[in-house]
Amino acid sequence: MSLLQVENVSKRFGDLVAVDGVSMTVETGELRAVIGPNGAGKTTFFNLISGFLTPSSGRIIFDGEDVTKLLPAWRVWRGIARTFQITEVFPELTTRENLRIAVEVASGYRLKTWLSRDADGEVRARVTDLLDMGGLADKADRLVGEMSHGDQRATEIMMALALKPRLLLLDEPTAGMGDQETYDITQLIRKLHRDQNQTIVLIEHDMRVVFHLADRIMVLAEGAMLAEGTPNEIAKDDAVQAAYLGKAA
């Protein structure tokens, strides 16, 4: 069974159809990229999957369960975690605290983690792991709000990962990053996918990143699905060339 099945979802804002009858199936362990011009409806599509918005029509099935109408927190508990196009972190807390909160929430913030030394040690160890993995170890005790844009985005990704999600949604993880940061994040995502078999759907404008990472690509334009396939198929697709890649190049 597929991990995520999006069936013919639409989202209307008044007269505007931001997402127009889009379907998508994501298998466990897959890395799927969603691309498309500005305003194509990519973020809205993510908002429907993560529960930030509910679809006007269509269904969303996660691991065999209809989650179309579930509140965001409930979807998180079922294993859907996301980052945002505009970084959402806890700015006046340190990187360590940001991650600690995520780790504790993931472990059910039980009394146990607070009272027992062992459980507390586990939480700390996990936070340290995440700091290392995100390349944030030397910035652990800085306030997140004061760090560079790239480090803030890395923090947000690590927070989402702290939830041990079964499906990770990344909305333009490299947006606004320099070349080195883009490279680091790309390597991180690649590692997650290759080594940990993490299922990822990501929205991305940087085509180097997309073609480097993705197993399959879905192209959205004006809310509708324009094409879907492997990176090779998408690169050769005439409609995509005309509507999107052509313009970008």
């Binding site: 993560s50 927190a73 996301r82 806890f90 700015p91 913030y109 005790d141 709000g145 004061e146 947000e156």
Partner: protein, 338 residues
């Protein structure tokens, strides 16, 4: 969510020099020790500097109310302008019980606190979805309902004159009796004990994983929600905890005055709690205590000289908010970390 001390650059400056964590810890412990030492010895040094024991008792009680409010305001990021309702419910609960029902101070306090908890739980459930200024407005509205009940229900509550004709009774612990009625010092220490237990519980809660979810909500509600934190439920819990300790303060305040005052239910009183918290610094644990101290000393000093002392407090408050948005403690802290 309302963030009164929003300016980002300001906050960046005030806590900028990436605090060496161990040093910070020691500082904090030293600060705690000093605070407790000062509170424990207050009745003695207060008299030297021209105060009197009841003034100290008032400071501790109102500090408890302001710190309770700050659990919600400073640590959850939710502004309530209706905490006087729960403060006053505590006060009327204890007054009505002692006057009409049971001559037992502890039972009276229990009644006051339970009444406030029930009211806070119900009202909280109704308003927990609201945010920012809407939340604050509705807390005022609900608060005023209690004020008008106390004001209008003359034959029971004493109406505008308040509920008098009762007084606090010695606390009987079985093995011994604490004469809080005649012994001002004993009453001070009973109040300080309640304060210590309440503040201790709040501090423990804030250091727990639950407490950190409150910080998360304060910092970024959207991120909190998408980490899987049931935001509304946690705001409701924080509200309930905050109102509970505020009502305890209310019972103590009525006991101090041997009087339940309708003004204690009024939204002006809620405003005073907010002023105390912001004055002292709502991002610091002890801030509201300092704020309450300044507020009460100013009130005591200025009100003996001029009728409209509230304008002076108001002016002082505006100046603090304009020039020291992190409150008095925020300024001190910045000085010491530089």
């Amino acid at each position: 969510m309302v963030r009164l001390d929003k300016p980002a650059e300001e906050s960046a400056q005030s806590e900028a020099p990436a605090l060496p964590v161990p040093g910070f810890r020691i500082d904090k412990r030293a600060a705690d020790a000093i605070v407790w030492l000062l509170l424990l010895t207050m009745p003695f040094w207060l008299n030297w500097i021209g105060g009197y024991t009841q003034l100290g008792t008032r400071v501790v009680i109102l500090a408890l109310a302001a710190m309770s409010l700050n659990f919600l305001l400073g640590y959850t990021g939710v502004l309530s302008f209706g905490h006087a309702a729960y403060f006053g419910l505590g006060g009327y609960g204890v007054g009505l019980t002692l006057k009409y029902l049971v001559p037992n101070t502890l039972v009276g306090m229990g009644v006051g606190i339970v009444a406030a908890i029930v009211a806070a739980a119900i009202i909280g459930a109704l308003i927990v979805r609201l945010r920012g200024i809407y939340f604050a407005m509705v807390t005022i509205a609900f608060g005023q309902v209690f004020y008008f009940i106390a004001y209008r229900w003359n034959n029971v509550t004493g109406g505008d004159d308040g509920l008098s004709g009762w007084h606090r009774l010695p606390i009987n612990l079985g093995f011994t009796q604490i004469d809080i009625l005649h012994n001002k010092l004993a009453f001070y220490y009973v109040v300080l004990f309640c304060f210590a237990v309440s503040v201790g519980i709040m501090a423990l809660l804030l250091r727990s994983p639950f407490g950190r979810t409150l910080l998360a909500i304060r910092e970024n509600e959207r991120r909190a929600r998408f980490l899987g934190i049931p935001v509304d439920r946690h705001i409701w819990l924080s509200w309930l905890i905050s109102c509970t300790f505020c009502s305890l303060a209310g019972t103590l305040y009525a006991l101090l005055n041997n009087f339940s005052d309708p003004h204690d239910l009024h939204w002006e009183q809620s405003g005073n709690f907010v002023i105390m918290a912001v004055l002292g610094g709502m991002r610091s644990f002890w801030g509201p205590l300092i704020g309450a101290g300044i507020f009460i000393v100013l009130e005591d000093y200025i009100s003996s000289r001029t009728e409209n002392w509230e304008s002076f407090i108001g002016l002082f408050f505006v100046l603090v908010v304009l020039f020291f948005p992190r409150g008095v403690l925020g300024v001190i802290r910045r000085r010491t970390t530089q």
